[in-house]
Each structure stands twice: as structure tokens, then as C-alpha cells.
Symmetry: C2
Subunit: 171 residues, 2 copies
DNA sequence: ATCTATGCAAACCGTTTGCACGACC
DNA sequence: GGTCGTGCAAACGGTTTGCATAGAT
């Protein structure tokens, strides 16, 4: 992330007034939690790249991290929960495992999920927001969020298509 | 499910030309699999009620089943996979666990998920189908399906609201 | 000094699997 | 009779937790 002269940070596409570190520190303080080596390294590593990742990938990255402190598996899991609570990360569940992505300073969006290569492609849709509000109203349901995953096959995989058996390939 | 004089079955809201049992049998035959006691009881139990359920609930129901045959945990898991492959059930993942619902003869729909009581409320939206196609086209992505879960608080829970702490209750 | 955070390893929980026995065609 | 299915119990994989120690305030 880059800081410009007006003291804001570019994260993804949106400018926000403080860095993830700063924001996380605020969260920690508000909860009476402490700013530790490992929490710092972790936030740095997470916001170094704009990617989807799971706990294991993060643990892998932390292994190679230049910053000295090593972070145990348990601590990674505990910190991920905190980052979600702090509003810095968004968590979703894909298949069995939990997948995380940047939330703070990043616009609302949804995903195309390629069932061949597991890629996640982001897209934005304002109509969807309108739609979810309408549905909520219709059912006296107080909407707080949504998760849409459109599955299918991405352009790349559609190319090198070495035809797998499809379910219900009767006969 | 009830059979009427025109030999179709009412499952949920749509009429189909054969019962889940029959359809499952077809699937099994097409795969060279066998029609066993336990698969029969299982399909009966699953289609007795129109509900969302997980593996454990089903195992529970099978325990009380009047039909003699008992079905082991392993068999339940194996059969659920088959029912999904056969197009009789749809599987989704909510939090950690797999949740199943009727697919066969039941219209495409999505869900409102109450984060307080975990209830799932179904709704239909044709605009969503249009939307997902549009997005797919835009990204050269061959769409095969989607999963939308709108989360929030249902009417009931909004009433007896005994205010839990909300994440990000800073200060 | 106090009290939270960490690391380790064991526990957990839903799900899957190897294997010997039983049931279907 | 030959296979496929089942039950059991053990294995699995991601995640959580209890506990003693290290570290932040």
C-alpha cells in the first residue's frame, strides 16, 4: 500500500484514512489486547499482496517472512479471527476450508469460482445490493450481508478442456 | 409426497413424472449400483419432509425410522453423495457443515440465513439468473450455477432481540 | 508485577476410508 | 457365485483449545 501526500492509503481501489496496521492497533486497544511482534508481522504479510488465501498459505508465507518473528499455527488462526472481527478481512468458506480476502478499504464485491482450477474472480454488481434489499423487505428480514458465488469454468480452463466426466453422465 | 391421478408427484411446488425412489433407482441402475434396503429407507426418510438438514439430523431421523433397517453413519455419508450426484439433493456448506435440501422437482431458489437462529428461508429471484448470466458473459466465464446466501436477522429473532455484542463494538 | 499472547501438542468435529463380512443380481 | 454395499473403527484435515511459558504494558 502506498501513502500519498494527503495522508490516505490506497488499498485495492478505495482510499482510507489509516493503514491496516493502524486500524488493527485501534481495534486491539479498544479490546484491551496487546500489540505483539507476531500480530504485526501477520498484518504486514496479509496486506502485502491483494489475494485470496487460506490459513495454510499464510502460514507458508510467514515461514519465508524476512521479519524475524515466527508465528505458530495456533496464533495464525487466532489472529485471523481478530482481523475478521476488526473488519480488516472478510472470511468465506469454499469447499472445506476457510478463505480470506481484504475487506478494509476494499469495495463490496462477489466472486466467480472456477470449479476446474479453483480460481476466484471478483466482480461488482450494484443491482445485487438492490436485489437483496428488496428480498429482505419482502420477508421482513433485516439484511446485514450476503455472499454470492457464481460457479462455472473460467476462460483459461475452458480452453485446455480435457473433458472430465460430468455428474449425471447417464448411459 | 402425494401421487395424483395423472401419475405425477407433487414435490414442493413442481410436478415431476416419477417419485424420488424411482428416479434414484434409475440412477443406480445407470451406474451399475444396487438397490439396497438402506438406500431405500434413506430416500424415504429424506423425502418425507421438505426441509434443510445435515448428515447428523438425518442419522437421527433414521434411528427413529419405523422401517427396520438401520443405516450406519458411513452409509449415510456415502448415500448423500449419491443423491446429490443423482440430482435429487442439493448440497451447500453453511459455516462448517454440509447442509442438504431437495433438488429434484423443486424450483431453483436462494436463501436468507438468520444468523441468530440459523433458520434458512427460501426465496426465488429471476433477476438473479439474468444477473449471473450477464456477469459470466462479461468475464468469458461459462456459468454452471450459483449460490447466494443473504444473511441477517429474521422477523422472529428481531422481536426477541436480547441484544448480543456486535463485532466492532468499538469504544 | 500483572495479565495477555504464544507455542506446543492434544483434542475436536465433520467427513472419509480400509477392511472383513453380508447382501443383492 | 461374484460383486457391490455395509458397518465398524480408525484415519483424516482443518480448526480449536488447555496449559505452561514468554512477553507487553
Amino acid at each position: 500500500m502506498l501513502q500519498d501526500d494527503s495522508n490516505t492509503f490506497a488499498l485495492g481501489e478505495v482510499r482510507v484514512s489509516s493503514s491496516p496496521q493502524e486500524r488493527f492497533d485501534e481495534y486491539l486497544q479498544s479490546k484491551g489486547k496487546r500489540t505483539t511482534q507476531q500480530r504485526r508481522v501477520l498484518v504486514d504479510t496479509v496486506f502485502e499482496r491483494h489475494d485470496h488465501f487460506d490459513a495454510d498459505e499464510l502460514i507458508g508465507l510467514l515461514g519465508k517472512s524476512t521479519e524475524g518473528a515466527k508465528v505458530s499455527r495456533a496464533t495464525v488462526y487466532r489472529a485471523l479471527d481478530e482481523l475478521v472481527e476488526a473488519g480488516l478481512l472478510r472470511k468465506m468458506t469454499l469447499g472445506g476450508r476457510a478463505v480470506y480476502e481484504h475487506d478494509y478499504g476494499y469495495p463490496q464485491h462477489d466472486h466467480l469460482h472456477c470449479t476446474e482450477c479453483d480460481a476466484l474472480i471478483e466482480f461488482r454488481s450494484d443491482e445485487l445490493i438492490a436485489l437483496r434489499e428488496a428480498v429482505g423487505r419482502e420477508h421482513q428480514f433485516r439484511v446485514t450481508g450476503h455472499r454470492l458465488i457464481v460457479s462455472g469454468v473460467c476462460q483459461d480452463c475452458a480452453g485446455k478442456r480435457h473433458r472430465r466426466q460430468s455428474p449425471l453422465d447417464l448411459i
